[in-house]
């Protein structure tokens, strides 16, 4: 896949995270009940062996090329850039992957690990259904049993994705506890795993959860940034000035940021969901407005009340609607290597429409947050500056939401 050597200005990076226990500075770690420890140890050992195994790498790369359609192109969004009147905006087209988003990169990797570990059953949590669809897809591809946990509220809101998962042969279990959304689906998947650990592999969809998940998911997503490292010079003879990606749990952002960490001149900007506005309290901006705490097996920034209870979040985009964030993002924020900003629902929707009309690309509402911020940033930068946006998914799944916001009924 045409990787080039690191140029001279890139120092042999001191960045080497996580540590052996999964810590990114004070974040990450393994905060689970003893009942899950053995399963995580087994996974960590299996993954450590496989990740540098040439046969496993070759198998993974084969799947990415022939099943997913990688490498995904980088595309110069000329008309969108002209509209903004400043920097040139480039899109990393993860929306063109099989199943329509970056999620598949990770799911293929984990399902292959499951297969090597001899686990015939995979489970997953899903919010909007994208990770669930990706998991159901790979389970079908590899002939594995698949159970997807989904908050009962989300099951109602995402009927089409529920049907997709069923078409692919998965069982979708509606979760009735707590707020009946993504975080509760994650709790329930963990409970399934601890009960059925002998034959079951838990495919987590983002760079969160207990070690080794944040590291493993990042490793399977970093292909996004690795491709950009040679695609950008091919296109503009240099690396971009800024890389922009939306952050819910943060897997697409980690995927494109990670290979750029050693490039000090490339700004890394994560865009969180500002919902109705951070001041209203109805948002999902864990890094911008949360405090460190412990949830879902890791220490990270969380949206919580003064008593440490996790609070309900809001975003127009279901994929960003999560009260935590991957621990590596928490560390990149504290160290200042990445910046984190927010984009509100209405700004994301405006960017969604602008992208449709100027580029003929219907972006996912999640990715529209990154596009919206890139548009603001571009306007403040000179015309020869370059902003690379991770267009993490396509927007077909969001037709109902967008139509409803526009007062249109099908």
């Amino acid at each position: 896949m045409g990787k080039q050597d690191l140029p001279a200005e890139v120092s042999a990076s001191a960045y080497n995270y996580p540590d052996a226990l999964g810590h990114f500075g004070p974040y990450g770690g393994v905060f689970v009940a003893e009942t899950l420890i053995a399963a995580l140890d087994e996974l960590r050992e299996a993954y450590e062996k496989l990740k540098d195994d040439p046969a496993f790498r070759a198998e993974y790369e084969y799947e990415l090329k022939h099943y997913v359609g990688r490498p995904s192109p980088v595309y110069h969004a000329r008309r969108l850039s002209e509209h903004c009147g400043g920097a040139q905006i480039y899109l990393k087209r993860e929306d063109l992957n099989h199943t329509g988003a970056h999620k598949i990169n990770n799911v293929i990797g984990q399902a292959m690990v499951a297969k090597h570990m001899g686990k015939p059953r995979v489970i997953a949590e899903t919010g909007a259904g994208q990770h669930g669809v990706a998991t159901a897809t790979i389970a079908a591809r590899l002939g594995m049993e698949c159970v997807v946990y989904m908050g009962s509220e989300d099951v109602k809101r995402q009927a089409a994705n529920v049907y997709r998962m069923k078409l692919l042969g998965a069982t979708v279990v509606p979760v009735e506890c707590g707020s009946k959304t993504l975080k509760d689906a994650l709790n329930e998947a963990m409970r399934d795993w601890v009960t059925n650990v002998g034959n079951t592999f838990y495919i987590i969809g983002t760079v969160a959860g207990p070690h080794p998940y944040p590291m493993m998911v990042r490793d399977f997503q970093k292909i996004i940034g690795e491709e950009c490292l040679w695609q950008m010079p091919e296109m503009i003879q240099r690396q971009p000035d800024a890389v922009v990606a939306c952050v819910g749990g943060g897997s697409n952002a980690m995927g494109i940021f990670y290979p750029y960490i050693p490039y000090p001149n490339v700004r890394l900007i994560g865009v969180e969901a500002g919902g109705h506005g951070v001041a209203t309290g109805q948002h999902s901006a864990s890094l911008s407005a949360g405090r460190p705490g412990v949830l879902h097996g890791n220490r990270t920034y969380l949206l919580q009340d003064e008593n440490g209870q996790i609070i309900e979040t809001h975003s127009v985009s279901a994929g960003l609607d999560y009260p935590g964030v991957g621990p590596e993002h928490a560390w990149l924020k504290d160290t200042g290597r990445a910046e984190y900003v927010t984009i509100n629902d209405d700004e994301a929707l405006a960017a969604f429409h602008r992208m449709c009309r100027t580029e003929g690309i219907i972006p996912a509402l999640e990715s529209s947050h990154a596009v919206a911020y890139a548009m603001k940033l571009a306007a403040e930068m000179p015309k020869d500056a370059a902003i690379l946006v991770n267009l993490s998914g396509r927007g077909d799944k969001d037709m109902h939401t967008v139509a409803e916001k526009s007062g249109i009924q099908f």
Binding site: L21, F31, V32, A33, D41, T195, V197, G308
Partner: protein
């Protein structure tokens, strides 16, 4: 010697086993919790595990999740739970109380502030479900510094190395999770548990309580033949959940009383 250690050592001398009920503070409401604790003591329980409600109780089954949700619907906080302990202590200086819950409410309060307040209120131990030994060194040191025991879980899947690590960092007693799964699950294998407990007790050098999946006098009796104590949570919570408000205390007393009786009976377990 801590109140937990002296209670367990007195039981051992008397040839009796500890009965350790779990209830969630604030379920069904805060005003019931202290009378319920006293009622449990009247039934002959030895240590009370008092659950701190959390929004995301990942290791718990549906019964304790709902219990947590009922308490949170009444806005019960960690500070409220500590007040419950203080209130209970006014009239019971003998029965140890262990606070059991998840890390985030404690971290939100601040570990030192929590340890200080819990100790002053008369709590005796803390069990944080999602703090395994690796992540607990700082926490355990701060909590031990104010004289509280730090209680850890051991699972059927725990390796010998981990069991020894728990023995080094934990104190009071060990909570052995008797099955793979979440609290309240229904597939307890008594013979498997019996097989493992002696070696665990030997490795950790402290008493071993067994919990997860114990539902009646018979299973409590069978496990108390090998363990130093039995923990019963979900079954009691079910009784609370299914009782009208004025029947909560009498019905829990009837249940726990019958379990105590079964444990103390001289009949050989089936």
């Amino acid at each position: 010697m801590s109140r937990i250690a002296s209670t367990l050592s007195a039981l051992e001398s008397a040839g009796r086993k500890a009965l350790i009920p779990f209830i969630t503070a604030g379920d069904p409401d805060l005003s019931t919790t202290v009378p319920l604790m006293h009622a449990l003591v009247e039934c002959g329980v030895d240590i009370i595990e008092l659950g701190v409600p959390f929004s995301d109780p990942m290791a718990d089954g549906p019964t304790i999740q709902r219990s947590s949700e009922r308490a949170l619907a009444k806005k019960v906080s960690l500070r409220n739970v500590i007040q419950v302990v203080a209130e209970f202590r006014k009239t019971d200086a003998r029965t140890p109380v262990v606070l059991m819950g998840y890390a985030n409410p404690i971290e939100a309060m601040g570990v030192e502030a929590f340890a200080d307040a819990a100790s002053k209120a008369g709590a005796d131990g803390v069990l944080v479900v999602d703090y395994p030994p690796e992540e607990s060194h700082d926490f355990a040191a701060k909590v031990r510094a104010v004289g509280l025991d730090v209680i850890f879980l051991i699972a059927p899947t725990s390796t010998e190395k981990r069991i020894r690590a728990v023995g080094e960092i934990g104190s009071g007693y060990i909570y052995y999770v008797s099955l793979k799964g979440v609290t309240g699950a229904g597939h307890l294998d008594v013979s498997e548990v019996s097989r493992r407990i002696p070696a665990i007790r030997e490795a950790v050098g402290m008493p071993v309580g067994v919990g997860f999946g114990i539902r009646d006098g018979a299973s409590a009796k069978a496990l108390s033949a090998v363990a130093d104590g039995v923990v019963i949570g979900s079954r009691i919570i079910e009784e609370i959940e299914n009782s009208p408000a004025d029947q909560v205390i009498p019905r829990v007393k009837a249940l726990v009383g019958s379990i105590r009786q079964a444990m103390d009976s001289q009949e050989v377990a089936a």
